[in-house]
Amino acid sequence: MSERKIRVLVAKPGLDGHDRGAKVVARALRDAGMEVIYTGLRQTPEMIAEAALQEDVDVVGLSILSGAHMALAPRILELLKANGQSDVKVFIGGIVPDEDVPRLTEMGITGIYGPGASTEDIIREIRESVRST
C-alpha cells in the first residue's frame, strides 16, 4: 500500500479558453497510472502555486496557448520556490516558439511540448524527472 503515486497538477494559466489539449494530457497521465489534479481554465499563477502546495504534487503541467509563457512561467516558478516547493518539476504544453525554449529551460522548466508531441514522451519524461529527485 505504500506504493508511491506520481501526482500531477494540470493547470491552464492565462486567458485562452481552449482546454482540449490539457484534457487529453490529463487523461493520458491517468491511463499511465498517475493521479492528476485538474484545475480548469483561467488560473492565475497564484492559484496554481496554491493548488500545487495544497495537493503536494510532484509535477505541474501548464497548458499555455496564448503566447504569455515568458511572463507566466517565471512567475509560477518563483511562487513555487517561495512556498518551499522548488523540487516540483514544471512542464509546459502548448504553443512555444523555438527561440523561447532555451530561456525557459534555463529558468527551470523541465519539459516543453508543442503540437504533435506524443503522450508517451510526456509520460516517460515525467517519470524520469520525478525519479531523479
Binding site: M1, R4, R30, D31, G33, E35, T39, M47, E55, D56
Partner: protein, 336 residues
C-alpha cells in the same frame, strides 16, 4: 518546533507534506498521526455525498464561503475514484471550488480512492484527523460520486449531508436501504430544475415511513444503540430536507443552519460521543485488519500461497478450504 506546533501555526508546507506521508502510509506518516492524535476532537466533520453530477463540489464551494464568513477555518477533502485498471485518477473537484482560491483560511486536498470501495480512500479518516488537529473548525469530506452503497462516510462524519437532484429516482429508490438512510440532512440541489417537487415528495415519504427511529449502528454483529439522556421523542433527529441551487448560492444559509442544528442535536443527545467512539473503533479495526494481513504475508511464503491457489484453480479445493489451509500454514509458522 514540533510538528503539531507547525500545523497549528498554519505552516501549510508541513501540513501538505504530512498529508502525503499519511497517504503513502510511510513511517513518518504514522509517527505524525501518533503525535497529533491527542489534539483531535474539536473539528466538525461534515460528509457530503450523493450521486455523480448532483452538485456536491459546487455545494461544498458554497458551504465553505459561508463558513468563512463566520470566521471558521475550513478544510476540504475531495475524494474521486481511481481507475481499477491503471490505478490512475483524474481529480476534478477543485474546478468547482475556484471561489476559494487565495484564502489562507481554506485548505483543499484532493484524494484518489486508490482501490478502496465505500466512497472514501483508506486514509481519508486520517486526513480528517490531521486537519482537525491543525485547528480547522470545519472539515468537509466530499465522497466519490456515490451510488447506493457507498456509506462509509456515515461512520466518519459527525453530520452526513446527502445530495440529490431532480429526476434521479422514484419513491422505490427512496425506500431502499443504503445512501438515503445515512442522511442527517437531505439536500435537493438544482432546485431550479423541473421535477424538484417530485424528488422532495419521494424523500419526504421515505422519511415518514422510516421515522422517528433511533440510530443504531451495527458492528461486530453487536447493535450499538444511541442512548439519549432524555427518553422522549424530541431527542430523535428527523433529517430536514433543504432545497438549494448551488451555482447561485440559493438555500445555502438554510443548509448551514440545518447542519449546525444537527451538531447541536448530537451534543444534547450524547450521540456526538457515540459517533466518535464508533468511528475510532472502526478505524482501529481497519488498521488491525491491514496489520494482520501484512503479518500473514510476511509469514507465509508467496510460493506456498501460489501452490494453494493452484489447487483452487484446478477446483481441487474451494476458496474457503484454501483459507483454512493458509491459516494452518500460518499458525505452523507462528509456532516454529
Amino acid at each position: 518546533m514540533t510538528l503539531i506546533d507547525s500545523l497549528q501555526n498554519g505552516d501549510r508546507l508541513a501540513l501538505t507534506r504530512l498529508l502525503t506521508q499519511v497517504e503513502n502510509d510511510s513511517a513518518a506518516g504514522r509517527a505524525g498521526l501518533a503525535e497529533i492524535f491527542r489534539h483531535t476532537g474539536r473539528g466538525h466533520l461534515i460528509g457530503i455525498t450523493g450521486a455523480p453530477g448532483t452538485g456536491k463540489s459546487s455545494l461544498v464551494n458554497q458551504l465553505a464561503l459561508h463558513y468563512r464568513k463566520q470566521g471558521k477555518r475550513v478544510a476540504i477533502i475531495a475524494v474521486d475514484p481511481s481507475s481499477p485498471f491503471t490505478g490512475g485518477a483524474v481529480l476534478g473537484d477543485r474546478v468547482r471550488m475556484r471561489d476559494l482560491a487565495g484564502d489562507a483560511g481554506v485548505f483543499i486536498r484532493s484524494m484518489a480512492a486508490r482501490g478502496s470501495l465505500g466512497g472514501l480512500a483508506q486514509t481519508t479518516a486520517a486526513f480528517a484527523q490531521v486537519f482537525d488537529a491543525a485547528g480547522f473548525e470545519i472539515v468537509m469530506i466530499e465522497t466519490v460520486g456515490a451510488g447506493q452503497n457507498e456509506v462509509d462516510i456515515a461512520r466518519l462524519a459527525h453530520t452526513t449531508v446527502v445530495v440529490e437532484a431532480p429526476g434521479l429516482g422514484d419513491d422505490i429508490q427512496a425506500i431502499k436501504a443504503g445512501i438515503l438512510e445515512i442522511a442527517d440532512v437531505l439536500v435537493v440541489n438544482k432546485a431550479d430544475r423541473p421535477g424538484v417537487e417530485n424528488t422532495e415528495k419521494a424523500l419526504k415519504s421515505m422519511l415518514e415511513l422510516g421515522h422517528p427511529m433511533r440510530h443504531i449502528f451495527q458492528h461486530h454483529g453487536r447493535a450499538m444503540q444511541v442512548e439519549s439522556p432524555r427518553d422522549d421523542s424530541s431527542a430523535l433527529w428527523i433529517p430536514p430536507i433543504r432545497r438549494t441551487v448551488a451555482l447561485e448560492g440559493r438555500g445555502v444559509s438554510e443548509l448551514v443552519e440545518s447542519i449546525a442544528a444537527h451538531a447541536a442535536h448530537l451534543h444534547v443527545s450524547g450521540e456526538w460521543a457515540t459517533r466518535e467512539q464508533a468511528r475510532l473503533e472502526r478505524e482501529t479495526e481497519a488498521l488491525l485488519a491491514r496489520a494482520l494481513m501484512s503479518h500473514f504475508q510476511q509469514d507465509v511464503a508467496e510460493a506456498q500461497i501460489e501452490s494453494v491457489m493452484g489447487d483452487v484453480y484446478k477446483k481441487n479445493i474451494s476458496p474457503w478450504e484454501a483459507v483454512q489451509e493458509l491459516m494452518r500454514l500460518h499458525s505452523q509458522k507462528e509456532q516454529a
